[in-house]
Amino acid sequence: MKPAARLVLLLAILAVALLAAVRLGAVPLTLRQVVDAARGTGDATTIAIVRRLRLPRALLAAMVGGALAASGATFQALLRNPLAEPYVLGISGGAAVGAVFAIALLGAAASGGIVALCALAGAVLAIVLVFRIAAVAGRALDTRILLLAGVVVGAFFNACILLALTFADADAFRSAIFWMMGSFSGATWRSIGLLGAAMVPAFILLAALARPLNLLSVGEETAAYLGTRVERTKLLAYGTASLLTASAVAVSGVIGFVGLVIPHVVRMLWGADHRFLLPASILAGAAFVVLADTLARTAAAPTELPVGVVTAFVGVPFFIYLLRRRAA
């Protein structure tokens, strides 16, 4: 199968996943009803369900899944580490600190928008902090130190979260925990627009970095000899992947295992060339998260499972399988 055909296949899977996400739920809809509602005909309730609830939610899930998978693939190449994922450099910790402090301090006054804004600010703080720590240690950016700095900063932020939760009242505690579990229930067209505005330039930049990332995963010295400006490439890759993760976390909380597992699946099936790996990971990650969220909404209805539970229940066994394969 040619790379273009594989991408078309993944796109078809994503389309099917999106359609399933819009059709399934407390009120199951037929294809006809979905199409009518999308065009604005049919009864008002169905239109509201499709246009205001399910469609934005499914689209946001797809975008977050794609952003996390692209970010994970980039971090794995940049850090030359198969265990790297979007949250490994403390970004989720920073975002969670922002969100939890907003919830704990503002209580009921904290709207979804404000929490998202504080989460984004926390994530950007983490990105800058980790980079500053790694960059002062030497003139060239040492990605091993970047990894260590990320892990340490993440651990520090986790301590901050525990501290904030200790003094939070019961309601704030509950909503902070729910935020950290990650969810698409707050999806709005505005959050889709904001995430989209971050994703389009990020994906174009990553596409331009695909060949340099191939070279970086072979080695920094080799990359330089094959025409890559290594320091600039590392900086761009770190900044782009970090900001992608930060914007995804800000709108949906922390959703694990997508960014780790999806790039590995694509690599195992079709190889490690980033010119294919990045777009394929975006599409596969999007489809995976849409399906996971649909399962999370419907499996134990009317109770909604955290989507992170579903991605982890699929992701963890697969991850163990990967580790055992690697050891063999």
């Binding site: 794995q76 190449a77 030359r80 580490n81 198969p82 596409a207 331009a208 970095l209 695909a210 060949r211 340099p212 191939n214 070279l215 995963s217 072979v218 080695g219 010295e221 080799t222 330089a224 000899y225 094959l226 025409g227 890559t228 400006r229 290594v230 690599r267 190889g271 490690a272 060339d273």
Partner: protein, 279 residues
């Protein structure tokens, strides 16, 4: 045509008290094969990195094509010079074909797709390095020598005016080592500048037009193999007794100097004789 030269190049690694290179001046003429020799830690790889612009000299200047190498962009150097660095390990599995095809990246930039000429260059490079048969195998499944040949193929796929290789035959069996040296000579004759770091004195003497012998960061000797590989120089630099013979032939390198290291007992005897003479 691409040659290197450097004048008075000095370089010190940050943690080190002794400079890795100390006032090195040398010529790597265009369209010829130059071999850099020297004991472990004499500064061979450091010299290569300075000539390729990945290290910055503390004093002195390295020039490529008569322009300071630091004025070249990485893209421009990569279109001109193919490099086989000493060691690398891919973080993720990739096939030999994918690795060799990376040699075309400097010509393609970030967006352009591989064309007919690129595919042809990749295949030709793989054939010349005898890796075409396992083009689709993951590099992780190859032996050290096969992997090394794939990396030489990647440098050839660049179709560069100059090649710089850091111990390219370190893990190769005798036939493949000979094949690489013959390939370097053929390329040199066809007008490619070849700069080769190696520990194999005898093959360097046969296949290189010029030798540069480094000793603790300084140039101990440079010139033709016969000028550089004398008994006094080799014994002084390596600290081991040798005899210099001549290649018996047949072939084009009949008569090239060949270094035969003597046994350790002779070394002890030499030291003893020197002590006796001193006394």
């Amino acid at each position: 045509m691409s040659g290197w030269s450097c004048r008075g190049v000095t370089f010190r690694y940050p943690e080190s008290s002794r400079p890795a290179l100390d006032g090195v001046s040398l010529e790597v003429p265009a369209g010829a094969c130059t071999a850099v020799l020297g004991p472990n830690g004499s500064g061979k790889s450091t010299l290569l990195r300075l000539l390729l612009g990945t290290l910055r000299a503390e004093a002195g200047e390295a020039r490529l094509d008569d322009r300071p190498v630091l004025e070249w962009t990485r893209e421009a150097i990569a279109r001109q010079v193919g490099v086989v660095p000493q060691g690398e390990e891919a973080a993720f599995p990739m096939t030999v074909r994918e690795l060799v095809a990376m040699g075309r990246y400097p010509h393609l930039g970030p967006w352009r797709r591989e064309g007919e000429a690129d595919r042809h260059a990749v295949e030709r490079a793989m054939r010349r390095c005898d890796v075409l048969a396992f083009a689709q195998r993951p590099i992780g499944t190859l032996s050290g020598g096969e992997r090394q040949r794939a990396r030489v193929a990647r440098a050839l796929a660049q179709e560069p005016a100059a090649l710089a290789l850091d111990e390219p035959t370190a893990a190769l069996d005798v036939a493949h080592e000979m094949a690489i040296f013959e390939l370097m000579r053929d390329l040199g004759r066809a007008g490619t500048t070849v700069l080769l770091v190696t520990h194999n004195l005898n093959l360097a003497a046969r296949y290189a037009d010029r030798l540069v012998l480094l000793d603790r960061g300084r140039v101990a000797a440079q010139g033709t193999p016969a000028q550089v590989l004398t008994r006094e120089t080799v014994e002084r630099v390596y600290g081991w007794p040798v005899r210099i013979g001549q290649h018996p032939g047949p072939g084009p390198d009949t008569g090239a100097p060949q270094v035969v290291p003597l046994s350790g007992e002779a070394c002890a005897r030499m030291a003893h004789a020197r002590e006796a003479a001193d006394a």
